[in-house]
């Protein structure tokens, strides 16, 4: 053999050995949730097959601001599950539940292989997946093809519509089409007829912008200016200058942190005095500190009721759930609760509620199919985002009534029902 082919042979061997390492390393270690290898089960009556549920969130990357609270909510639930030994099925059989928490980095091409892995290698019965609308959209074909339930935590309606092509996909975050009408309704109630529509340049922003356009048309309000900006932009004075030069009477925004506070800051700096109406993307306390308390003053936006849990009337079905969630979350994660943590919590709970209806002894395929059916018919579940009433035509289950308007006053969220407008 010549020297060249010797080297080729050697390298072929190196490749084989190296890729054999993949086999050794990869399937053997699913990312552990931090409390894995938890409770050693004591003698419990009838322990059934343990359930594995995936949880894919953007823990790092551009959307980590949202994904981290979601992950914290999942961790909190895992701790609770371990403490109580899992869930109990209708036949009294107890099943341990393990959440496989993975990072998507907010990118579709990272999320997809991870999703495939948990579906085929780990055999999850369902998965929460998708912090952002973009990643959720990328994962939809994967879960549809594999016929496994996916519950997204993102906003875009396109994730669950058209329902005929989304048999296995659900989501827990309010859609922009639930929140945009509130933004427009507020503008209308204040007598504005011309507004500007600013949105972040991604799937979430596009979805929000089109929801605003629809709502504006329905209410007879004219959109005189539309502008976009990137999620990571540091300078929006150009767009704001255009706004100043236009005759818009109010600014409607679809954006999340960090773009949202930067926009707000620079908006005030430009001396613009028209009202600033954000959307539910700013539903986290850091928005106020980052934009600056004086700059955030007077900002109005629609939100899930988490914001004002204590100010809700006592009869509200969500009040107790929310207060409990806030307490538990702050104890477990050590930081303030946000609606995004709530979306993660709601998503896992939806799956757990479905699992509770499954008898023991089903094959994985049967579990997946029956779980889907159970979730699709879930009614009256009071979560943090609202009261969920799912159906074969509606894979979100929320309505605009689950959303309230909030005003930022003195650095705090103030419940802002229509009476106060």
């Amino acid at each position: 053999m010549s020297g060249r082919s010797r080297s080729a042979l050697l390298l072929a061997i190196v490749l084989a050995v190296a890729t054999a390492l993949t086999g050794c390393v990869a399937p053997a270690t699913p990312a552990p949730s931090p409390t894995a290898e938890a409770v050693a089960p004591e003698e419990k009556p009838a322990e059934g097959t343990p359930y594995k549920v995936g949880f894919l969130a953007a823990i790092t990357g551009g959307a980590a601001f949202l994904g981290e609270p979601e992950r914290n909510a999942a961790v909190m639930i895992q701790k609770q599950l371990d403490a109580q030994g899992g869930i109990v099925g209708p036949d009294g059989v107890r099943h341990r539940v393990q959440l496989l928490i993975h990072d998507t980095e907010g990118k579709g091409d990272v999320a997809i292989p991870v999703a495939k892995k948990i579906i085929s290698d780990d055999g999850v019965v369902a998965s929460v997946a998708g912090t952002t609308s973009g990643v959720s959209m990328a994962l939809v074909p994967v879960f549809q093809e594999a016929e496994v339930v996916m519950v997204s935590m993102a906003s875009s309606s396109a994730i669950v519509e058209p329902v005929s092509e989304r048999k296995w996909i659900f989501k827990t975050a309010q859609s922009n089409k639930h929140t945009a009408p509130w933004q427009v309704r507020y503008a209308k109630a204040k007598g504005y007829t011309k507004v500007a529509n600013f949105y972040v340049h991604d799937a979430y922003g596009e979805d929000g912008a089109s929801a605003i356009r629809e709502a504006a048309k329905a209410e007879g309000i004219e959109i005189v200016l539309e502008e976009t900006f990137n999620a990571g932009d540091a300078d929006m004075t150009a767009q704001l200058t255009k706004l100043k030069a236009s005759d818009a009477q109010a600014l409607l925004v679809t954006a999340i942190t960090p773009a949202a506070p930067v926009l707000t800051k620079q908006f005030r700096e430009m001396g613009l005095e028209i009202p600033l109406i954000h959307n539910h993307g700013i539903g986290m306390k850091p928005f106020i500190t980052l934009a600056g308390v004086e700059n955030a003053e007077g900002v109005v936006f629609p939100m899930g009721k988490l914001v004002a849990a204590d100010q809700l009337p006592d009869g509200d079905p969500q009040k107790q759930v929310l207060q409990q969630f806030i307490r538990d979350y702050e104890a477990s994660a050590g930081g303030p609760a946000s609606t995004f943590a709530g979306h993660g919590w709601d998503a896992v709970m939806l799956i757990l509620k479905g699992l509770e209806k499954l008898p023991d002894g089903l094959s994985l395929e049967e579990q997946r199919t029956r779980l889907r059916d159970e979730i699709e018919n879930l009614k009256g579940f009071a979560g943090t985002g609202g009261v969920f009433n799912l159906s074969p035509e509606d894979h979100v289950g929320l309505s605009p009534d689950d959303v309230v308007m909030v005003r930022i006053t003195n650095g705090e969220w103030e419940y802002f029902p229509p009476e106060k407008w």
């Binding site: 790092t60 980590a64 300078d235």
Partner: protein, 296 residues
Amino acid sequence: MPDYDFSDYLQFLISGASTGSIYVLIALGLVFIYNVTGVINLAQGEFAMLGAMLGVVFYKANLPLGVSALLAVICVVGIGALIQRLTIHPARRAPEVSVIMITIGTAIAVRGLALLVWGTTPHSLPDFSPGSPVRLWGAVLGRQRLWIVGTAAVVLLILYLFFEFTLLGKAVRACAIDRQAAELVGVDTQGMALLAYGIGAGMSAIAGIVIAPLTLVSYNMGLSLGLKGFVVSIMGGMVSAPAAVVGGLLLGILESLASGLLSSGIKDAVAFVVLFAVLLGRTMNLGEHLRFRGRS
């Protein structure tokens, strides 16, 4: 397109100039480092991020703003020197591509470290001099923007004085003009490389701190700043400081105008189209004739 009047155009100009000043500061650091060491430091943006982050850290530890800023800059100068010693110095004989990759790798590692230490939450610094914005013929100039332009001007002045009137400055210039000749007259070129990196990093840090109150500080703010600063430095052929100053301001203004007159989405593309145009427009000879003289 909305009906613009004079004050709107002025607004575009002013916002663009203040953003451009940031680019100038970062580009000057790049030019400086390149002139002395021959390295294109693609991690320059990360120094800006570190400066801003450390500024936040010190400020949150209840140190006064000015002291925090100063300490942050000093720390970053040290970090810059450290990075030069650890990553550039061992590779001084490696091919160009390798060195570029090394600076990229350093940038990635620093970014990851920042993510680990400070997390994903953006931070902010307060305005240096709080108060209402200044109004100039209908255009609004936030006070922080004045700080940005002012700081850039002061840094330029200090650099000019340094290179023109101090012995150390002259030694650095000698290195930049001809390294071998400098060595022959007794200049310690290794030490100069270290110094250059430290100072270049420091300039970036100043840029990061002064822009922090305006935009937010997050672990990945360095990427885009570094790239833009890099585009500007290329305008001067990597060797000319005055060209970098003019180029930086021009780029900032162009971005602002493009965003206002065309569409906001292509703002980022402007920098790279300009880069392309500049690269094609110049020839190597021109670059070599406009050597860095330290004059601003």
